[in-house]
């Protein structure tokens, strides 16, 4: 199969990728670029572990073709902390005990990140609605919701 040459901006860096047109963004991130912080599970956009931000919007990278992302900005979990300083959401997940096995956490944090950009003063009910596409089997979601709501408050207080 012939390959496409794609330019993707991932975590602020330009990457030239040569890949078949049918391959997903998830596959290219994990296999070609070694960015395994983006997780793989159901491959049908049900579980949300593969969530990344595409031009700031949370998307399921398992059903998105890499070719659809050419020339666009992708943010993965590896790109969220800046200069070794955790994003307030990442810190809140640690502080609230929201992490157990952790496999859903990168997707969960990125879904929350995109949502808080839109609604910085989100209520718990709104946060829960925003995260309904991200399955977690360990936590029962409570500490995750607490972490996101508190990160939003902390960020709002700083503004």
């Amino acid at each position: 199969m012939s390959k496409l040459a794609l330019t993707l901006t991932i975590n602020g860096e330009r990457h030239e990728v040569h890949t078949e047109p049918h391959r997903t963004l998830l596959d290219v991130l994990r296999v070609d670029l070694g960015l395994t912080g983006t997780k793989e599970n159901c491959l049908e956009a049900e579980c949300g572990v593969c969530t990344v931000l595409l031009d700031g919007h949370a998307v399921n990278s398992c059903i998105l073709l890499a070719a659809q992302c050419a020339g666009r900005n992708v943010l993965t979990i590896e790109g969220l902390a800046r200069d070794g300083v955790l994003d307030p959401l990442q810190q809140a997940f640690i502080d609230h005990g929201a992490v157990q096995c952790g496999y859903c956490i990168p997707g969960m944090i990125l879904s929350a990140k995109a949502f808080l950009e839109e609604r910085p003063a989100a209520t718990e009910a709104e946060v829960r609605e925003a995260l309904a596409g991200n399955l977690c089997r360990c936590t029962g979601y409570q500490k995750i919701a607490d972490a996101v709501v508190n990160a939003a408050r902390a960020t709002a207080a700083q503004r």
């Binding site: 994990r30 296999v31 070694g34 960015l35 395994t36 912080g37 983006t38 997780k39 793989e40 599970n41 159901c42 491959l43 049908e44 049900e46 579980c47 572990v49 993965t76 979990i77 590896e78 969220l80 902390a81 955790l86 990442q90 997940f93 640690i94 502080d95 005990g97 992490v99 157990q100 096995c101 952790g102 496999y103 859903c104 956490i105 990168p106 944090i109 946060v127 829960r128 609605e129 995260l131 309904a132 596409g133 991200n134 399955l135 977690c136 089997r137 360990c138 936590t139 029962g140 979601y141 409570q142 500490k143 995750i144 919701a145």
Partner: protein, 762 residues
């Protein structure tokens, strides 16, 4: 303990592996990769029961990119398994369930592997299948294993045809009990098959080296068991098999046993390349190790004043085409069927039954939810029939300190009354039906802290930090953070000073594994043993260095202090490295055996609950009478944890266990029709989302156990046990409808309210 002030244990400190998990740098087995690695995939049966007339892989082998296609002809003719060796790597001669592995392929790309699967030719001749418990137990039923009697099994098992174990507890004389009883209640319950639902699929990478050693990177919960099983399958010494657990994205019992490791090992040997095998969601829901569906029959005799005088119970587990965890699950179930109650006459039986379905395994508190759903539903039915408040009825019958468990074990540190009273009070139990279509429910239970041995090595690094080397895997519970807290406490360092290396069968000491709520308990105790040894070495060195008596030495703030002098742990470690090979100690722990009366049990592989925990759940909910939809207003768990090593993560265990329990209670079921799973995807297998889960309120009760570190008891499994019963009881209180089938879907409630499945019907 109480007199001492704890610095690290008992504190809600952040888990030590959290930074890697929130930044995406933590590596899980599904992330693990090696250069030149091939993709392995499994070709699976499409028939529930059939003879393999022809299997031809020639065309598949010839496709571009395909490096190997393997079948039963490529593996030693071995049957393996736990207590009952009935499994094979691939079906040979016949298939026994839809999803059973028949062949496996390795190829350079996923597409080539998929093409190879499509090119495998197989012809089946269908055989009569047994697709549910009733069919499997019917007189003259087709045998799932005609050759069952020839299988190797531990002698304790009672097997007969499609029954691969019958476990039994007999206490007193139930017939005499029926005579003493004023009322006798008989009910039947049924529960569906459910999946653990871990978010990381089962994954393994295998690579052989030139010395004939194979290394397997896998997300198993039990690396040492997988090592031994692979040795059995491939007829190799275990010392040639290295199993390493990079990281696990949830297990809940579903990753105890060999899942895909054997395929990776075989394909890697055949191709001379590293091979990775990862399951799909469809494979997970059709061919993993889910929780057995069950049928329960209970007959309970009570006096009019609410004393239980006799109970007869039978539970049949649909364990699928191979025994899996079935024989053990059937055993444990009998202890749960007894309930945390004083009952003088018992006759309890658990049966593990073969059917032509996927091989069932272990899921968080195996047998607990199915058995407890029946027991605790019936407790409410009886209480209401007697006109006694369900809380009072339980309090009249629960076990207390010094009572005997069903098999004669003497119970201690029983915090059950406190759990029941606190949970009930928290939801306002005095108003059980506060408004129309709203009701409250209670359920309580007991569970074990599984034994088995744990070894650790603990080293003081030359900078004074501490390295823990343990064979246990961190499956997400935070158990190894708990063990690190123990070390930090005992060695007077900070939690941040402790690092962990874990779960590598070549370099870490043996551990019985992350199962049975035992990791923090057993590894924590092994750490304390290591510290005791380490202290002797540290104090001997320090005494020489400071010219003081060994007896005068104590640890304080990362130093040895004696007679007003001090020397740091870092300095002692450096000295030891120069002169004595470093400060390192081994610690081991094996849970003390729990005495029981062996005359009361038969066919039983788990006759007593070690350092048992006690718990009560209380729920306040409303039911929409039109749709049957359940809305949970309050959910409270009171759990006797003995000692809360890290309250935040114990709450996390409870919240997560309740989430899985509510899934089983309300929405989850692997639905079979004609031997085929109808909902093998995450759209139709309905696990709770953020919108389905209520806020779970946790009350930690602490009646310290004798054996656990600082009095801790096993924590992880119990919260999964009671949700189905608590919900069923609250739904009954809200609606008058007694649903005796799991899951209690909105559809079941709505139809029940229309008269289809009224009380006691099921």
């Amino acid at each position: 303990m109480a007199a001492r002030t704890m610095r690290v244990v008992g504190k809600s400190l952040p888990r030590i592996d959290a930074p890697g998990k929130v930044t995406g740098t933590a590596v899980y087995a599904a992330d693990f990769a090696l250069p030149g690695m091939l993709v392995g995939k499994v070709f699976r049966s499409t028939e529930p029961h059939a003879r393999i007339v022809r299997l031809d892989v020639t065309r598949a082998r010839s496709l571009p990119g395909v490096r190997a296609v393997v079948t039963a002809a490529d593996v030693p003719d071995v049957r393996y398994g736990g207590g009952l060796k009935d499994e094979t790597v691939f079906a040979k001669g016949k298939v026994r369930y839809i999803g059973q592995p028949v062949a496996a392929v390795a190829a350079t790309t996923p597409e080539a592997a998929q093409a190879a699967l499509a090119a495998i030719e197989v012809v089946y001749e269908p055989l009569a299948a047994v697709l549910d418990l009733e069919a499997a137990l019917a007189p003259g039923a087709p045998l799932v294993h005609e050759e069952w009697a020839s299988y190797t099994a531990i002698p304790i098992l009672h097997r007969d045809g499609n029954v691969c174990n019958r476990a039994r507890i007999v206490v007193g004389d139930v017939d005499r009990g029926w005579e003493e009883a004023d009322r006798i209640f008989e009910h039947r319950f049924r529960t569906g098959m459910v999946h653990q639902g871990y978010t990381e699929p089962r994954a393994a990478v295998a690579q052989w080296d030139s010395s004939g050693t194979v290394t397997v990177w896998s997300n198993t919960q039990l690396p040492f068991e997988v090592q031994n099983t692979l040795a059995e399958i491939f007829q190799m010494p275990p010392s040639k098999i290295r199993v390493v657990v990079p990281g696990i994205g949830g297990g809940f019992g579903g990753k105890l046993r060999v899942g895909v490791e054997h395929f990776a090992v075989l394909l890697a040997r055949k191709t001379g390349r590293a091979v990775k095998v990862v399951t799909t969601s469809q494979e997970e829901l059709t061919a993993a190790y889910p929780r057995q569906g069950a049928v329960v029959e209970l007959k309970t005799g009570v006096t009019n004043d609410g004393r239980i005088v006799a109970k007869e119970g039978r539970i049949w587990f649909d364990t699928g085409a191979f025994a899996g965890s079935g024989p053990g699950v059937a055993s444990v179930a009998t202890l749960v069927l007894a309930g945390p109650y004083r009952i003088p006459n018992l006759r309890l039986e658990g049966f593990a039954v073969y059917t032509n379905k996927t091989n069932c395994g272990s899921y968080r508190a195996p047998s607990g939810p199915q058995s407890n759903f029946a027991v605790e539903s019936q407790m409410d039915i009886i209480a209401d029939a007697l006109g006694i408040d369900p809380l009072e009825f339980r309090l009249k019958n629960i076990v207390r300190d010094g009572d005997e468990g069903p098999t004669g074990q003497v119970l201690g540190a029983v915090g059950l009354e406190e759990c029941l009273r606190n949970a009930a009070a928290a939801i306002g139990w005095n108003e059980r039906r506060p408004e129309t279509w709203r009701g409250k429910g209670l359920a309580c239970g007991w569970w074990t802290t599984t034994g088995g041995s744990s070894g650790v090595y603990v080293k003081i690094n030359p900078d004074g930090t501490v390295a823990l080397n343990t064979g246990a895997a961190e499956i997400g519970t935070g158990a190894l953070t708990g063990a690190a807290q123990v070390l930090a406490e005992e060695l007077t360092v900070d939690l941040a000073d402790v690092s962990v290396v874990s779960a590598d069968t070549f370099s870490t000491p043996f551990d019985f594994g992350a199962q049975g709520s035992r990791t923090a308990f057993a590894v924590g105790n092994a750490c304390r043993a290591a510290v005791a040894d380490l202290k002797q070495r540290i104090f001997a060195l320090a005494a020489a260095q400071l010219s003081v008596e060994v007896e005068a030495c104590v640890l304080a703030e990362k130093h040895v202090v004696a007679d007003g002098k001090r020397v740091s742990l870092a300095e002692l470690a450096r000295m030891s490295q120069m002169t004595g090979g470093g400060l390192i100690a081994q610690g081991t722990f094996i849970a003390p055996p729990t005495a029981y009366d062996s005359k009361r049990v038969e066919g039983h592989v788990y006759p007593a609950f070690h350092s048992p925990s006690f718990h009560a759940h209380a729920v306040d909910l409303s039911v929409d009478p039109g749709t049957g939809d359940v809305t949970i207003h309050r959910y409270v768990v009171a759990q006797d944890v003995g000692f809360a090593m890290n309250p935040t993560y114990i709450e996390g265990q409870i919240e997560g266990g309740v989430a899985q329990g509510l899934g089983q209670a309300l929405s989850e079921e692997i639905v079979y029709e004609g031997g085929r799973v109808l909902n093998a995807n995450l759209t139709d297998y309905k696990m709770p989302t953020t919108l389905d889960m209520p806020r779970v309120e946790t009350i930690l009760v602490e009646h310290p156990s004798l054996a656990g570190p600082y009095g801790a008891k096993g924590v992880g499994e119990p919260p999964n046990i009671e949700p189905p019963a608590a919900v069923a009881n609250a739904v009954a209180a809200a609606t008058g409808l007694r649903v005796t089938v799991l899951p209690i879907t909105a559809e079941r409630i709505a139809l029940g309210l229309l008269g289809d499945v009224r009380a006691d019907g099921g």
